[in-house]
């Protein structure tokens, strides 16, 4: 069994990669080692045969595509390198900040300021009504929500609604209290005199049904 270095030397000898000194030394070994000499002869014959039957140069298939892909890969590697160079110093700088002796005091002060703003913001927002989400089934209608500080009110503005016909009489009701009848899924409403003025229930489609009708 040949030692790996012997096989490597054999290949380099066949390929003509040895300098003058190395080649002389290796050929001296061949004279002393008949097994190695036999193998060298066989391999050199095989190599010569391959050189005869294969062209010295082969055209690269789809060379344009190959070159393009090489270019893309080189570009990606260049970008990766540039990104790594930009990130590493920044992260290192942050670590350096943490190591500074004044960082603890500065951090505590920043947290105190942040906490002050958070508490104030929370207490201010928590006293106002809020619209969390809105959905208008009619796609022609848009719902806008905001808080008006001047009016001290939360506004849900419905734009795009069809107008109520001007000739239609829109009358109001004054309801002071109501009673729910769960078994009937209805609510009876009473005015300030305690007289039942309206009952609301659901029709077969689940839509509200007012009785008596206006």
């Amino acid at each position: 069994m040949k030692h790996p270095s012997e096989e490597h030397d054999l290949i380099r000898w066949i390929d003509g990669e040895m300098n003058e000194t190395e080649r002389t030394t290796f050929e001296e070994r061949l004279k002393l080692d008949p097994v190695l000499a036999t193998e060298a002869r066989q391999m050199r014959a095989l190599s010569a045969s391959l050189r005869v039957h294969l062209p010295a140069e082969m055209k690269v298939p789809h060379a344009d595509y190959f070159n393009t892909q090489i270019g893309v890969r080189i570009s990606q590697m260049a970008q990766d390198d540039a990104r790594a160079k930009q990130t590493s110093p920044g992260f290192g700088a942050i670590l350096q900040w943490f190591r500074q002796p004044w960082f603890a005091l500065a951090g505590a002060a920043a947290l105190a300021v942040l906490g002050f703003f958070l508490v104030n913001t929370a207490s201010g927002g928590a006293s106002e009504s809020m619209i969390l989400s809105s959905y208008t089934p009619n796609t022609n209608v848009q719902a806008r929500t905001y808080h008006d500080d001047g009016a001290e009110a939360t506004v849900l503005m419905l734009d795009g609604l069809d107008a109520v016909p001007a000739e239609r009489k829109v009358s109001g009701i004054n309801i002071q209290r109501s009673e729910v009848e769960p078994e009937l899924a209805s609510t009876t409403m009473y005015d300030t005199k305690g007289i039942a003025v309206l009952m609301i229930s659901r029709d077969a489609l689940g839509n509200p049904m007012l009785t008596p009708r206006g």
Binding site: A126, S129, S134, A153, L161, D162, A166, R177
Partner: protein
């Protein structure tokens, strides 16, 4: 036949008497409640002659309501057409019906911080739902809902969480 007619007459008389008599004790008070709201339908217009003449009083906990509405809606005159005080029922839907044209369904979603209440609101215009909203209603902070145009003005729905 006479017996049937007598029974029907008795039924109608009882029904009529019930309808005209003062309401029985508040059965709804037995139901769990998450709060109390006041809802009003307001007509906003620049033409005072278009106001309906309704003299509904403004809620005592809503001072300067007209001035506040004027800061949101570009009108000079505001008239309350109808109003409705309603308990927010914890387990059942609650209706706020200041008019037959525009009214609201409320489903409670439980208490919110600072005495508020989480609600699911639906504004209905007769048989059509105009908007569905999830909201947090807090005391002292009314909700103004800009509704449909009417005449040369606009209908506005105001919802307010009472302090009681």
């Amino acid at each position: 036949m006479k017996a049937i007619l007598s029974a029907l007459a008795l039924f109608f008389c009882t029904t009529l008497a019930f309808a005209q008599a003062p309401a029985p004790p508040d059965a709804a008070s037995k139901l769990a409640i998450d709060g109390h709201v006041w809802g009003a339908l307001i007509f906003a217009t620049n033409d005072a002659s278009q106001l309906t003449g309704a003299k509904e009083p403004i809620h005592a906990e809503l001072p300067k309501l007209n001035e506040r509405l004027a800061k949101v809606f570009p009108f000079k005159h505001f008239g309350i057409l109808g109003q409705h005080r309603q308990d927010i029922l914890r387990e059942y839907e609650s209706w706020v019906v200041p008019s037959r044209e525009l009214f609201m369904k409320i489903d409670s979603k439980g208490p919110a911080d600072n005495g508020g209440v989480n609600l699911h609101l639906q504004v209905w215009r007769e048989q059509q739902v105009l908007v569905k909203s999830d909201a947090v209603l807090r005391k002292g902070s009314p909700l103004f809902i800009g509704g449909p145009p009417w005449k040369e003005g606009r209908l506005i729905f105001v919802l307010f969480l009472e302090r009681k």
